[in-house]
């Protein structure tokens, strides 16, 4: 080969290199200045399938009971208005973080709850431990609540993983590192599993997973901030509703994860939306409760709550009343149609983290009870439609989780080292 031929070959090789450079970075992206454009969509992770276990993927219980996150216990759960503490289980939260604690999830197989120490337990209905699971790698442990189907329990934790465990023995079925942190609760809906996860900059995503393999089916666009908000599902619109700390609220298509509409608000959105009658209801740190038409993304109403809010609105079945807590120290009944405040119960507790539970009243047919923290160490029971106080009971500790009703019992995970209490 002559030198000239070699130079010619080098020239051709140079063109190939130039082409490869172009193909690898066609937009001449710079890492420092255009980070977002290099990673223009959230991460998708493979899952690790450790011991396959096929289940129905239909929720037997989950955070706020159902995919619409109504906060209304099924009719099989009818605790009496005047309950008392019957069990006080071992301490588990240690108040590593100030956010609201993981709420218990209960079905006929047992009680499932996590703690901010990273431990997750299955207990029997009387509070005796059946098995435990530990997650490391996070100083915040478990914030979210579990979702249950017929065979598996799904739990997402602050180390960024979502896990599926065998309800029977606690063995890990699969795990998927969906994000860098997860504070939200998983959602079981339409035969799939959904989770809002947090990532480092850029931030926030909603993922849909196959509940039997843990494989990611799609991820949404970046939510723009941590998503402490647990997603809700509108069956009618086939849309997922979720908020983020960026102040954005998203409606996301169940089919492929594309954004159907999104709205920017002036405050963070941490609460879980309530889906009812084609409308998404959610709170914001902008001090308002908002109602948006799920299909069109148009605002229906906004009601000023007096202080920033991250609770979820709880539906009162058979009425148009939704119940919310506010930072100004009151429980409020809102008209879901126009946002008008129907009643207020002032209790003076300015914590704005806990949402209300609604159950059927076993003593008054067709009537409902609302359960809420009233003061730091107090659980009160109200008439859900009128807001009239029926009962209050002193607790051994404060709580920021949501009480969970099962049969004639209420389960509450207390803050700090106060453990789980069972009321009947």
């Amino acid at each position: 080969m002559k030198l000239k031929t070699f130079h010619l070959l080098l020239a051709v090789f140079s063109l190939i290199i130039l082409t490869m450079i172009y193909l690898n970075n066609p937009k001449f992206l710079m890492y420092q200045s255009q980070y977002y454009e290099i990673i223009n969509k959230p991460y998708v992770s493979d899952s690790a399938l450790l011991s396959p276990l096929k289940s129905s993927c239909q929720a037997t219980s989950q955070y706020r009971y159902n995919e619409a996150r109504t906060g209304v216990a099924p009719s099989s759960a009818k605790p009496k208005a005047k309950v008392k503490v019957i069990q006080h289980y071992f301490p588990f939260n240690v108040d590593i973080h100030g956010a609201s604690k993981s709420s218990p999830t209960v079905d006929d197989s047992g009680v499932y709850l996590g703690s901010d120490t990273g431990w997750f337990w299955k207990l029997d209905h009387d509070g005796q431990k059946i098995w435990s699971f530990y997650v490391p790698g996070s100083k915040n442990g478990i914030h979210g609540s579990a979702a249950l189907d017929d065979k598996k329990v799904y739990i997402a934790t602050y180390n960024g993983f979502i896990y599926a465990l065998d309800k029977n023995n606690g063995q890990l079925v699969w795990a998927n590192p969906v994000g860098q942190y997860v504070g939200a609760s998983p959602l079981l809906a339409d035969g799939s599993l959904y989770i809002a996860a947090e990532t480092s900059h850029p931030d926030g995503l909603l993922a849909k997973l196959d509940c039997n393999t843990g494989q990611t089916l799609w991820v949404s666009e970046w939510l723009g901030g941590h998503s402490h908000s647990s997603p809700s599902y509108s069956k009618k619109s086939e849309a997922l509703l979720v908020g983020a700390n960026s102040g954005r609220f998203f409606s996301i298509a169940n089919s492929d994860g594309t954004t159907l509409w999104k709205e920017q608000f002036k405050g963070q959105i941490k609460g879980t939306p309530l889906v009812w009658d084609g409308t998404a209801y959610f709170s914001s740190w902008d001090k308002y409760y908002h109602a948006y038409d799920i299909k069109t993304g148009k605002e229906r109403w906004s009601t000023f709550m007096g202080g920033r809010n991250q609770t979820s609105l709880t539906l009162v079945p058979g009425s148009k009343v939704g119940i919310a807590n506010s930072k100004v120290g009151e429980i409020v009944g809102l008209n879901l149609e126009d946002g008008e405040i129907l009643w207020r119960l002032r209790h003076g507790d300015r914590n704005h983290q806990f949402s209300v539970l609604v159950t059927e009243d076993p003593d008054r047919a067709g009537e409902f009870l609302a359960w809420s923290r009233c003061k730091e160490f107090q659980l009160c029971t109200l008439d859900a439609k009128t807001g009239k106080l029926i009962n209050n009971i002193d607790l051994p500790g404060s709580f920021t989780s949501v009480p969970f009703a099962w049969k004639n019992r209420i389960y509450i995970s207390l803050d700090r080292d106060q453990g789980l209490i069972i009321l009947e």
Binding site: M1, F28, S45, P136
Partner: protein, 403 residues
Amino acid sequence: MTYLKAQIKTISSKPNLIWYGFFLSLTHLWTFFYWNKNNFFVNSQSSNNAEPICFPFFPDCDLFRQQLSPESWQMVLYAYLITTVITCLAWFRPKNLTVGWILLSFLTLFKLALHLSNYNFMGNYHYMVYVISFVFLFFPAKEVIIKLMIVAFYIAAGFLKINIDWLSGAAMITTPWLHGAVLNLSLIYVLFLELIFVFGLIHPHKWIRRLTLLQFTCFHLFSWHIVGFYYPMVMFSLLFLFYYDEYEQIKNKKTPMTPLMSFLKGQLSFPVYGTLILFIIMQIIPFAITSDPSLSGSARLSSLNMFDSKTHCHSLLVAHKEKSSAHLAGPTKNMGVRLRCDPLVFLNHAYQLCRKNHLNPEIERLSLALFSRRVTSTHYKKVLDIPDVCSIPNPLWAEVTTL
């Protein structure tokens, strides 16, 4: 023995090779400074300060390391320094270069032994020095092979850089002086330097050679503030043969050996082509056994281990018990950027637990999965998925054997 004597004779007959022996010995001095900086060597060798990470072919290296106290390891390092200084001086005794040759051989093997006792010492800069040292000490046609191998190093490194990580600047360990479009253009220029202009190092035209050498010199000087002193000093030492030959031509009008044309015409000896082919095969192996070598550990032991991408990862190490299971924390000790997502680090961690868990019959099995991605990628790939780590005799090879 005759063959080895012939190697010493070859070196003795050429001043450029004698000087090269000195500069190869000097690389050990740079290594001493590098390992001694911030007590890196002693901290890495001391089990109290470091994650016990081993090469797969020496899985219990930490047990070996524990035989010596940190003070003793410091003494070993000083012994290495003393041997290095003596070796360097030995090259200035032209009448008896056998001593220099033996000492450099010993030093190379001694460093290799230290190196293989700890995976924390892995790095491109060592790999290249080993290759060139072995060629220098034991191979025929030394000058030709060394020059071609150095060109091959740059080309291999250049190929590893054709990706968004390098082109965007995401792979930079620290923020360089240059930024924005200037940085991006510079990164493209480096690709051309390593893949195209590099042939200028062995070009018959003297100005092309000198211009190329000047560019590589500037490149390594510039890289100093990003990668530290060690890499550039090693490269300057390895490039010394080129510097010396240009110096000889300027001073004594002696035409240097430029193997480009004879290489292209197939006129070089079998060992030259054989060495190059072997090197190419070793660079291809990781691509043959893993989809993304930058996320791998043992899969790329045979190749240049360029820092081609920053990575993020999540590990899933689970201790399975009858009525409880636990997702265990991964390696907790501070890991360098290169190592923090290396599967070998996690396999070593699991292997340590397997050894300890022989005492804990409650644990039924230990499973390990590792999910990794390049920082510029949106896909966390499952690079490890081992249901029962402890049932594998040497799990450090698991990344390769479980493929």
